[in-house]
């Protein structure tokens, strides 16, 4: 389906829903094409092509709400689907807060290009894709006699969608993405440590195509013979690629749904300090060529650049239309766009060099955070550091604490942003983090 065909189908669906008894309706038509190739030890392991279509529809009638999706898009199937969905909605309880967003908040068009679509992706030959994945493997395969297995993969993705609502919103968006990934397992006395590395981009030309297998191998070898250290308080540096993971409980606690359902530890914290003054985070939808960039969100709300945390003070929650009404708050958007942290002045290498004794955290394994209380514990792996030098790899340890005070321990923000993903967080240093080991 091209964009016009998507608009036509969306219009037909909206019209049929209104005719069949819906009072308000929002329809999204999407398609998603992707290729993925996995090479293992210089042989193709799998080749996958995917072409996915679908329609989703939000129905509002008699103050009742439901949402449905299907990939059966033939007109007669679709009409039947919509009629049944409306009939089903009538069985639900009334909810006075259910209605489409106020039209004044919706995106009205005219936004400038965010440069998130690369025409070249669709034209790439399968052989080009295959040789990129092969190159990833070749960079590591046979390069060390401790290697047990090398996998490399290529994947791309082209997604397009059109959204139409009965109260006047019309929008279409499309984006591309590509990634190359390597995973290497090596032999050691204590196990088969493995490590991965990847590069991703929205544009084929800009995608980093070198050094991926090499980097994965280097990281796997670095993990040989890990040891755990004594439980206690340590200064830690969290590597840029994974630092965002530790912020995800904060992000979960900022959503209207979790605030309303009391599964947030940040209720009533707007305008109050929740982290060290070094932390400033902006939700910025307009940065060109970042994967979270957008002109409108999944409800059609016009994108707005907003401070989330300013010098440690909480400035904004992520409030969608429905929970905005329930909580009596202005909707911002229920979902984040690009999460961008204000950088410091140096990268993880120099931060580590300045550490007397501590741990450089390079990965997390398992763990969770209690949304209501902020208590958390996550498994970690990384390196033990003394006098600015790596002493040995560490594993089988946890980092734990409470999110309400943990981020006050943020003592340095790096400047080493990486990639074009929607989370732009550099390496972070935390003072006196609680680690458990022996």
């Amino acid at each position: 389906m091209n964009t016009k065909e998507k608009y036509d189908l969306a219009d037909i669906a909206v019209e049929h829903a209104l005719k069949s008894g819906a009072e308000q309706v929002s329809v999204t038509i999407y398609d998603n094409r992707s290729t993925s190739i996995e090479i293992r030890d210089q042989k193709t392991d799998s080749l996958q092509e995917s072409n996915r279509n679908g329609l989703s529809i939000d129905i509002y009638t008699e103050k009742k709400y439901s949402s449905h999706s299907t990939n059966r898009l033939k007109k007669e199937d679709l009409f039947h689907f919509i009629e049944e969905a409306i009939a089903a909605t009538r069985f639900l309880a009334e909810d006075e807060f259910r209605s489409l967003p106020d039209p004044s908040l919706l995106y009205k068009g005219g936004g400038s290009s965010l440069e998130i679509f690369d025409d070249e992706v669709d034209a790439l030959e399968i052989n080009t894709k295959m040789s990129l994945a092969e190159k990833v493997v070749d960079e590591a395969f046979g390069k060390d006699n401790r290697i047990l297995s090398v996998s490399g993969s290529y994947s791309d993705n082209i997604s397009e969608s059109v959204m139409v609502t009965s109260n006047g919103f019309r929008g279409d968006s499309r984006r591309t993405g590509l990634s190359l990934y390597a995973e290497v397992s090596v032999q050691s006395e204590t196990g088969r440590p493995n490590a991965y590395w990847y590069e991703s981009d929205l544009f084929f030309k800009r995608l980093v195509k070198n050094g991926i297998g090499e980097k994965a191998l280097e990281r796997a070898l670095g993990k040989i013979n890990p040891k755990k250290i004594l439980s206690g308080k340590y200064n830690v540096v969290i590597e840029n690629r994974v630092a965002g993971n530790l912020l995800s409980p904060v992000y979960d606690s900022l959503t209207g749904s979790n605030l309303y359902n009391k599964q947030s530890f940040l209720i009533g914290k707007e305008g109050k300090p929740i982290a060290s003054p070094l932390m400033t985070i902006t939700d910025d939808p307009f940065i060109k060529s970042l994967s979270g960039s957008r002109l409108y969100d999944d409800e059609g709300l016009a994108a707005v650049k907003r401070p989330i945390i300013e010098k440690g003070v909480l400035r904004n929650y992520y409030i969608d239309n429905y929970y905005g009404k329930k909580l009596g708050m202005n909707p911002t958007s229920g979902t984040s766009s690009n999460i961008v942290m204000e950088p410091g002045t140096r990268g993880s290498d120099e931060m580590i060099k300045s550490m007397k004794k501590g741990v450089f955290i390079t990965g997390f394994i398992g763990g969770n955070c209690n949304g209501s209380t902020g208590d958390f514990s996550y498994g970690i792996e990384g390196f033990y550091i003394e006098d600015g030098k790596v002493i040995h790899p560490v594993n089988e340890m946890n980092i734990a604490g409470n999110m309400n005070n943990f981020w006050f321990g943020l003592s340095e923000v790096g400047n080493d942003f990486t990639g074009n993903g929607s989370v732009q967080i550099p390496s972070l240093m935390i003072t006196n983090a609680e680690l458990s080991g022996i």
């Binding site: 799998s46 493995n194 439980s231 398992g366 498994g379 734990a400």
Partner: protein
């Protein structure tokens, strides 16, 4: 269950999404005589045996050793209760066919959401391109396989109106609020799924399945002196709507309230290495994370698992026997046949402490020259199958629960978990404890919560020093993630003691 053609679908609430217009019965052109069941599934997907054979031939056209077609029509419904009323509902319909061609251990895969012959042939040619020689040219027969019935359905979810589901959700809400005046919020979710599966492969196997699934979840929030605590419980089964009973709802409500209330007196234990007693039931998460994944034969075939060279070796005490079972009636992890058409079974992974089998799909079984174990599973027709767990549990051992707890001077007892993870190569695994107790001088004392426990798989398995005789299979709504695909699983365990894990 047998699929009966329906003339029309009644206005049955959210189940509506599953409705289809049943086409006139389509006969095979090849004169193959089919059972009514096979015929109705072919009719459901509007395909003929003739088309199936052509699509398989196209998938085999470049010299693949094997090819299969996995037709799926899945209808998901979710109803949600918030603020004391069921005020939102969601549904999803997925319809299509996954086409796979296999050459040795190489896989070509494509799917089509359009079940016209042309669209399927196009996808088959894409899948075929994994191989690069000429077809073997064998013609494909059809031999039907009627699967055993590990799940029965009295009233299908498609025939159950949202109107019939609401009272149970409402009752759970009311029971939660009635039980304790500190309750400030309750949420209830009911998710049901009906899947029609039709499978055909280059060996001529034709089979079909109707797979029901339900998960019900209750969340309780309590407040006391400005403190907020939350807890949730889930139950799941492959069953029709007869699953919903007042007894079930009452049991879940009582459980979630009692656990939430106890959290106010819970604290974090001293951290570090200590003895860990894992209570019967959900503690099977230990098996799932510490060894289950590492026993999946794809990781072993690829040399990536820490158990890659341990087959036939003693890896645990004599009283440790671990199985992965796809045949427990009504169990969330059960399947009549896996997603590659292989009948499921009860696979013994560790027998009397010795590693006896990995979990196999077709590719790994061929690689290891063993029988496939019926563990080839996929998230949907859009995904490549791979070895996955079903219901993983440990058989009973010689000890008693009281004896185990009494043997611990300083440790923890844990029996509720939210999630876990494993690193296959290094063997490190974790599980997150939602609830447990400290053990001091052989007695359960202060409640504990929200701690991560981390250990090493082979070491933890060797460190299982006591196993009780109280095996319980947990029927919660566990979902396992692997390589971006999710699969419903369950787990079980008797009470066990592990000599040493890191608690934090």
């Amino acid at each position: 269950m047998n699929y009966n053609r329906r003339e029309f679908i009644k206005i049955s609430g959210i189940t509506a999404a599953g409705t289809m217009i049943i086409p006139p019965f389509l006969n095979s052109c090849t004169g193959v005589k089919l059972s009514d069941n096979a015929g109705s599934y072919l009719g459901h997907f509007e395909v003929t045996t003739d088309v199936l054979q052509k699509v398989i031939a196209a998938a085999m056209d470049k010299g693949a050793d094997y090819a299969d077609l996995y037709f799926e029509h899945t209808i998901n419904n979710t109803s949600a209760l918030e603020d004391g009323k069921v005020n939102s509902a969601y549904s999803n319909v997925a319809y299509g066919v996954g086409i796979r061609a296999v050459k040795g251990d190489q896989t070509g895969y494509a799917y089509s959401e359009d079940l016209s012959a042309e669209a399927m042939l196009r996808a088959a040619r894409t899948a075929a391109s994994i191989a690069d020689s000429s077809p073997a040219g064998n013609s494909v027969n059809i031999s039907e396989y009627m699967a055993p019935g590990y799940y029965s359905v009295k009233t299908s979810w498609e025939d159950t109106s949202i109107k019939d589901k609401i009272p149970y959700m409402q009752r759970m809400n009311d029971k939660i609020f009635e039980a304790d005046n500190r309750v400030s919020k309750a949420n209830v979710y009911l998710m049901d799924t009906s899947s029609y599966i039709l499978f055909y492969n280059s060996e001529g196997l034709l089979t079909w399945d109707y797979r029901p699934m339900v998960v019900i979840a209750g969340i309780c929030i309590m407040e006391e002196n400005g403190r907020i605590e939350n807890f949730y419980v889930t139950r799941s089964s492959r069953m029709g709507s007869e699953f919903l009973t007042n007894e079930l709802v009452d049991e879940m409500s009582a459980e979630v309230v009692a656990r939430t209330a106890k959290l106010f007196s819970a604290s974090r234990p001293k951290t570090g290495e200590m003895e860990v007693v894992m209570g019967a039931g959900q503690s099977g998460i230990l098996l799932h994370e510490a060894m289950g994944h590492a026993f999946e034969a794809d990781f072993n075939r690829k040399n990536q698992s820490i158990f890659s060279d341990r087959m036939g070796k003693k890896i645990a005490e004599d009283f440790v026997t671990i199985v992965d079972d796809g045949t427990i009636p009504g169990n969330r992890g059960s399947l009549n046949f896996d997603d590659e058409g292989i009948p499921t079974e009860k696979t013994i992974l560790v027998k009397d402490g010795v590693l006896t089998s990995y979990l196999h799909d077709r590719i790994s079984a061929a690689y290891y020259k063993v029988r496939p174990t019926g563990n080839g599973r996929r998230q949907s027709f859009r995904h490549i199958p791979m070895p996955r767990m079903r219901s993983t549990y440990m058989e009973n051992g010689p000890h008693r629960k009281e004896e185990i707890i009494a043997s611990v001077k300083n440790g923890i007892y844990v029996d509720y978990f939210s999630n876990g993870e494993v690193n296959i190569g290094q063997g490190d695994f974790t599980f997150f404890v939602k609830f447990g107790y400290m053990i001091e001088n052989g007695k359960l004392t202060t409640p504990i919560k929200d701690i991560n426990v981390i250990g090493n798989g082979p070491q933890a398995l060797a460190d299982i020093v006591m196993v009780a005789d109280d095996l319980a299979i947990d029927n919660g709504g566990g979902t396992c993630g692997k390589n971006g695909q999710s699969a419903p699983v369950t787990m079980g365990m008797p009470t066990v003691k592990i000599r040493k894990l890191t608690v934090g």
